[in-house]
């Protein structure tokens, strides 16, 4: 039964790899599933939040007396109601939830009102008088870094960042190996280009929502849509100055997160209002609040320099990355710097990254945070070098591809990875050979993400009727109840319909890290398999007891306990159901647990292939055909693996073509709605074809790798490379909106005419 002896590559699965109906499907197609805003409590109040209309302003005073006296108002809170958490990162979260001495961005919360109705709360907000001293602001990353730029927060430098920068520059990192200058000297051609990407929002359709209840004995309950109930408990209990055990957080169904629900924005406010009013308090954000005050990703400015020989060997790579992550220190650029050249096996590579604070909302994680931008820059320059030498872009990538044994630019040495396999599959795919018409272009890009494991805790109960209950602590955003239940069924040798997986509150199970880092199917799956193995050990002991033989003489095979061989005795196999039915007589309930800080997540690579057509009159881009190739390790439920590949690709298409935070000269966000912040709609897109590759991850019993994030990484460069080839000019700024493409085409025409 020793799991690690099993040959992962040769293992024949019965449940894993099939496509059963997801257990929460009926609730979600009938409107029964309860999301964050769907929860109510008796006596509930509704709260609204007052937000700064200024990009940067000192708050001299806040007068809430008129609001407090308004009809129906039960509580008003400002920063003055909160203490100062000891931990700096937690304090930043609190300050982001409720501005302290300064409003740091347009939309920053400054006060909140709980009242008997939404109308009463809204009316009371208008009675709050905030005395602002408007300060100079900065929203652009390059401007924010310059000496003399308006300082967003003083004294927040995390690392030594070097000379010549403003106080907004908080973080610096560098990675790499080899002699980069010597590498460039060996190149037949070197291209250096600067790129910019705009901030994009995760764009989950469900706005943040929560319901808080606080009893006078100090016990509190919180229901909310989140990617991690334990994260919410830890942040909120520290902010509220209470013990974690006294705050129970129950996750609702979650209407999308993509990283944006890995922190808190409204939950501490609801808790404080509930504490002050003695009544349950509900807060639901509007879409405008979501866009103005919750986590967009970083915007970036970067310089990429790559050298290549005429036969396509990359001799050196250099990336200088500048990210802004809003009004607080932010380490996202570090992941961008680590990921930039991850796809390549290089002798000489160097990446540097700086983070700058700006008067923008505090960035939150967004699907492979930091990686899409830097890889967009690198993959664009690689493509331009391929054009320069007239080389096939897939051949060049294959020639330089990272493989098992490659030392990555960020220091690790890769084990089994699927990049070369993805590239070969792409090369052989009919899409790559399909003819293109005039005005059309084909783009290619590699993508990479680290994948995480982390703290995970699973309990698996074998019920007396032969069914199995899996208790886990990670909100199911895209079908993970199904994949977890499938792995439990596989390991126990029962059918999928015998297993029900529950996502539970913080009081019911030990700590679990948030649903992020593509970790759930990997880490919760791993813990579920180990919990099932623990339960199997118990069941073998019970069978041994019934048969009167040694527990060591019993093995588990095909869902049954069996004597290990003829010498062990001659007993008919006992099924899980048979053992469970008599568990009360053999020692009591049967359960398995597993608690782990899971490592071995296994990095993930993908390759995207896209055809576009650019309209030379309007600059509009139409995506004609799209194919995603990605290594899933082992695809547990292939439909949902495909779904991750397709969904990430389309978010990346939006990032490449439409989506951007647009700030006016006044530092205010000008497009805080889905009409003007335009995410891709169905009519913008073709089908997104998928090719799943399965190169088993040595770190997981079934070979599983996370698949959620890698898919958003390649589209930025794949689309940019396709557009650049179609338009006949290199595009270096995202999004490639029609005006930007037209301007680039016009500039190229003028330059050509001048020559």
């Amino acid at each position: 039964m020793a799991l690690d002896d099993q040959s992962k590559a040769k293992r024949v699965f019965k449940v894993v790899g099939t496509r059963p109906l997801r257990p929460d499907g009926v609730d979600k197609v009938t409107g029964k599933a309860l999301f964050g805003a769907d929860l109510t409590a008796p006596g509930m109040l509704v709260a609204k939040i007052l937000r700064s209309p200024h990009a940067h302003a000192r708050i001299r005073a806040i007068d809430t007396s008129a609001a407090e006296a308004a009809p129906g108002v039960k509580a008003v809170v400002t920063a003055a109601d909160f203490g100062a958490p000891a931990d700096e990162a937690v304090r930043d979260v609190l300050v982001n939830c409720m501005a302290h001495d300064k409003a740091l961005y347009d939309g920053h919360a400054v006060a909140a009102v709980a009242a008997i109705s939404e109308a009463a709360a809204k009316a009371a907000l208008k009675l709050i008088k905030v005395d602002y001293e408007v300060l100079p602001h900065v929203t652009d990353v390059d401007e924010a870094m310059k000496p003399g730029a308006p300082v967003v927060q003083a004294g927040r430098q995390v690392e030594t960042v070097g000379e010549g920068f403003s106080e907004n520059v908080t973080n610096y990192c560098e990675f790499g190996h080899g002699d980069v200058e010597a590498g460039f000297a060996k190149a037949d051609h070197v291209i250096e280009r600067s790129f910019r990407t705009e901030a994009t929002h995760q764009g989950y359709i469900e706005p943040h929502a929560c319901l808080a209840s606080f009893a006078s004995d100090g016990k509190a309950d919180l229901w909310c849509c989140t990617q991690g109930q334990y994260m919410v408990r830890n942040l909120c209990s520290q902010i509220m100055g209470m013990e974690a055990s006294q705050l129970r957080v129950t996750p609702s169904e979650i209407g999308g997160g993509f990283g944006g629900k890995t922190t808190v924005f409204i939950e501490p406010v609801a808790l404080m209002l509930a504490k002050k009013s003695g009544r349950p308090v509900k807060i639901v954000m509007s879409r405008s609040e979501v866009l103005r005050a919750t986590g967009p990703t970083c915007s970036s400015s970067m310089d990429i320099r790559i050298g290549m020989t005429r036969d396509g060997r990359i001799t050196a790579g250099l990336a200088r990355l500048r990210y802004q992550g809003g009004a607080f220190p932010c380490g996202t650029v570090e992941m961008g710097a680590m990921a930039a050249f991850a796809a390549y096996d290089l002798d000489a590579v160097r990446t540097e990254g700086w983070n700058a604070m700006t008067n923008r909302p505090k960035q939150a994680a967004y699907r492979a945070p930091g990686a899409p931008m830097s890889i967009y820059g690198v993959e664009s320059v690689v493509d331009e070098l391929c054009q320069h030498f007239g080389l096939d872009p897939l051949d060049v990538r294959m020639k330089n591809a990272a493989k098992a044994g490659t030392k990555a630019s960020y220091g690790v040495t890769f084990t089994d990875i699927g990049l070369s396999a993805c590239l070969s599959k792409a090369k052989a795919h009919p899409h790559y050979a399909a003819p293109l018409k005039a005005g059309q272009g084909r783009g290619v890009s590699c993508g990479f993400w680290f994948n995480f494991g982390g703290d995970t805790c699973v309990t698996l109960n074998v019920n007396m009727d032969g069914t199995v209950s899996v208790t886990e602590g990670n909100p199911d955003i895209g079908g993970s109840r199904a994949s977890i239940g499938m792995m439990a069924a596989e390991e126990l040798g029962v059918t999928f319909d015998k297993v029900r997986t529950q996502v539970v509150d913080t009081a019911s199970l030990g700590y679990n890290e948030v649903t992020d880092g593509s970790r759930v199917t990997f880490a919760v799956g791993l813990a579920t398999i180990k919990a099932a193995q623990a339960a199997k050990t118990v069941m073998c002991q019970r069978a041994a007891k019934i048969w009167g033989i040694d527990a060591e003489a019993v093995v588990w095979e095909d869902g049954c306990a069996k004597p290990s061989g003829p010498n062990a005795g001659d007993f008919p196999p006992m099924t899980l159901a048979e053992i469970a039915a008599v568990s009360s007589q053999t020692g009591g309930p049967i359960a398995g647990h597993h608690e782990v800080n899971a490592d071995g997540a296994g990095v993930s690579f993908g390759v995207h292939l896209v055809d576009v057509e650019v309209d030379p009159e309007t600059g509009a881009t139409k995506v004609l055909r799209y194919t995603v190739f990605q290594d899933a390790g082992k695809a547990v439920h292939p439909s949902y693996v495909e779904g991750q590949m397709q969904g990430g690709a389309v978010q990346g298409i939006g990032w490449a073509l439409n989506e951007e935070y647009i700030y006016g000269d006044d530092g205010r966000l000008q497009n805080a709605g889905f009409l003007d912040y335009r995410v891709p709609v169905a009519s913008d897109l073709p089908m997104i074809d998928t090719v799943i590759l399965e190169i088993p991850n040595p770190g997981h019993p079934y070979g599983v790798r996370g698949v959620g994030e890698t898919s958003i990484v390649p589209p930025l460069a794949a689309i940019a490379n396709a557009v650049s080839r179609a338009a006949g000019v290199r595009l270096t700024s995202l999004p490639m909106s029609p005006p930007r493409i037209l301007a680039a085409m016009d500039a190229a025409r003028l330059a050509a005419a001048a020559e």
Partner: protein, 158 residues
Amino acid sequence: MSRIHVNTTVNGDAVDFLCEPDETLLDALRNRLGLTGSKEGCGTGDCGACSVTLDGRLVCSCLVLAAEAEARAVGTIEGMAAGEALHPLQQKFIEMAALQCGICTPGILIAAKALLEKNPDPTETEVRYWLAGNLCRCTGYDKIIRAVMDTAADLRRA
């Protein structure tokens, strides 16, 4: 402001409620009638998560005043299945993994049903343009479009 007494039909049931003059149909459905299947993703008619039918016509319930439901017939996601029997679109969405988080699903199902009632044999382009007012951030739409096309084909054969 005095409240308005509205008599209407929701999913075939005669119901009545009191609402504010400026209250949306979406808020009345969710907060007064307990029908939380219709979702608010934007409140400005851009995302389609609140899609319902009003006398058979597809509307964003966040853009309709609750008082406008007087003497009309409202259809919501809660009325799509017949008891335990799912509508073919609902069944197909589960089978073909046409949902991930599920927040946009009620609105997309209501919109897709309205499409198939109007046009039982839509092209892929027609499905894509009909659903262009329903945002989905998880799926990239691929499996949704396929599920609608597949259901339409099944219904034509039935």
